[in-house]
């Protein structure tokens, strides 16, 4: 019987079941291909949502970094530096007053010292080193500042992805010499922060207002002076 059935299958008289079976297979393949294609579209879409969120998180982080740095008030402040002898030199630096945000973390990195060749050998002194003073100064540098700093920027929203930011500084420091590269998932971007601080432009006002700092007589701490007199 099987032989007979095979014969009929291979018979060339009338409609052959073989053709129907072949057609069934072709239809199944065509249907599978259409389904697979539609499925690929859906999975690609999911991937695209993830990529778009990476892009949005990275661009938001970039905007935040720029806003944070730009919100720092550029000031001219007198900076004190021990010159290796008994005297102290004072110079004006282009500093950014930290506003409690990002600049609080990277303030020392981005504050530029005008005469970097000499005064780069100094530490910046934070505002909290002075009693109630709104100004910053610097003292002899005790630690080497890093050429790069890595930041993790994360949010208390599960939809916003964490971003890794790498801040690279040039030797001159200063916010205008800051290169930022951001990485979030598969998305990365890099940009330069170009904040120009015009010393001459703000000097006339700031010169009057600027506090001067110098070491106290024991050389144990930096003190603020007003008009040459030590305030404490």
């Amino acid at each position: 019987m099987i032989h007979r059935f095979k014969e009929k299958l291979h018979g060339n008289r009338g409609a052959s079941t073989v053709f129907a079976i072949i057609l069934l297979l072709i239809c199944s393949f065509a249907g599978s291909a259409a389904l697979a294609s539609a499925n690929t579209n859906i999975s690609r879409f999911d991937k695209r949502v993830e990529y778009q969120q990476s892009y949005l998180s990275a661009s938001s982080a970039a905007r935040l970094i720029i806003d944070e740095i730009k919100s720092c008030e550029p000031i001219t402040a007198t900076v004190a530096n021990k010159n290796g002898e008994a005297d102290f030199d004072f110079a004006y630096g282009s500093l950014l007053r930290p506003n409690g945000g990002l600049c609080q973390l990277i303030w020392e990195d981005i504050c530029k010292i005008t005469e970097s060749a000499f005064y780069a050998e100094a530490d910046l002194v934070r505002e909290d080193s002075f009693d109630g003073s709104a100004w910053q100064g610097m003292a002899l540098r005790s630690v080497d500042l890093p050429d790069e700093r890595e930041l993790i920027i994360s949010a208390d929203d599960e939809n916003i992805m964490a971003v890794t930011a790498r801040l690279s500084y040039s030797e001159e420091r200063g916010a205008e010499n800051l290169h930022v590269s951001l990485l979030c998932g598969e998305y990365g971007l890099g940009f330069d922060v170009g904040i120009e601080v015009d010393i001459s432009g703000i000097a006339p006002i700031s010169h009057e207002a600027a506090a001067e700092f110098k070491f106290n007589t024991d050389r144990t701490e930096i003190v603020r002076t007003d008009g040459g007199e030590e305030s404490r």
Binding site: G11, A15, L24, A30, I42, F45, L105, E150
Partner: protein, 97 residues
């Protein structure tokens, strides 16, 4: 069985079998094509929703509340308050101060 073994009328059996197989093939194809069409349609709708959410997030047109951004470095961490933007029915979010 008789018809199968008989040398006469075999084309009718074959034809009926073929029609049944053809119907099955068409049913399978139609089901798969319909499913594919539905998937495609839903992908298209998702795409439109994604575009709208992306537009809303990028242009800051719809706020979804205040969030805190934490910036951490090896020297410590700070928290910055921001406003998050996006569509409530989408996971796409952006933020700014």
């Amino acid at each position: 069985m008789k018809k199968l073994l008989s040398s006469r009328g075999e084309t009718i059996v074959e034809t009926l079998t073929s029609i049944a197989l053809l119907a099955l093939a068409m049913a399978i194809l139609a089901t798969m094509l319909t499913a594919a069409y539905r998937l495609d349609k839903s992908a298209e709708e998702e795409e439109e929703r994604l575009s709208a959410a992306l537009r809303s997030a990028e242009l800051f047109t719809n706020t979804v509340g205040s969030k805190n951004i934490t910036i951490t470095s090896d020297s410590g961490s700070v928290s910055v308050g921001v406003e998050a933007y996006g569509e409530p029915n989408s996971s796409l979010r952006t933020y700014k101060k």
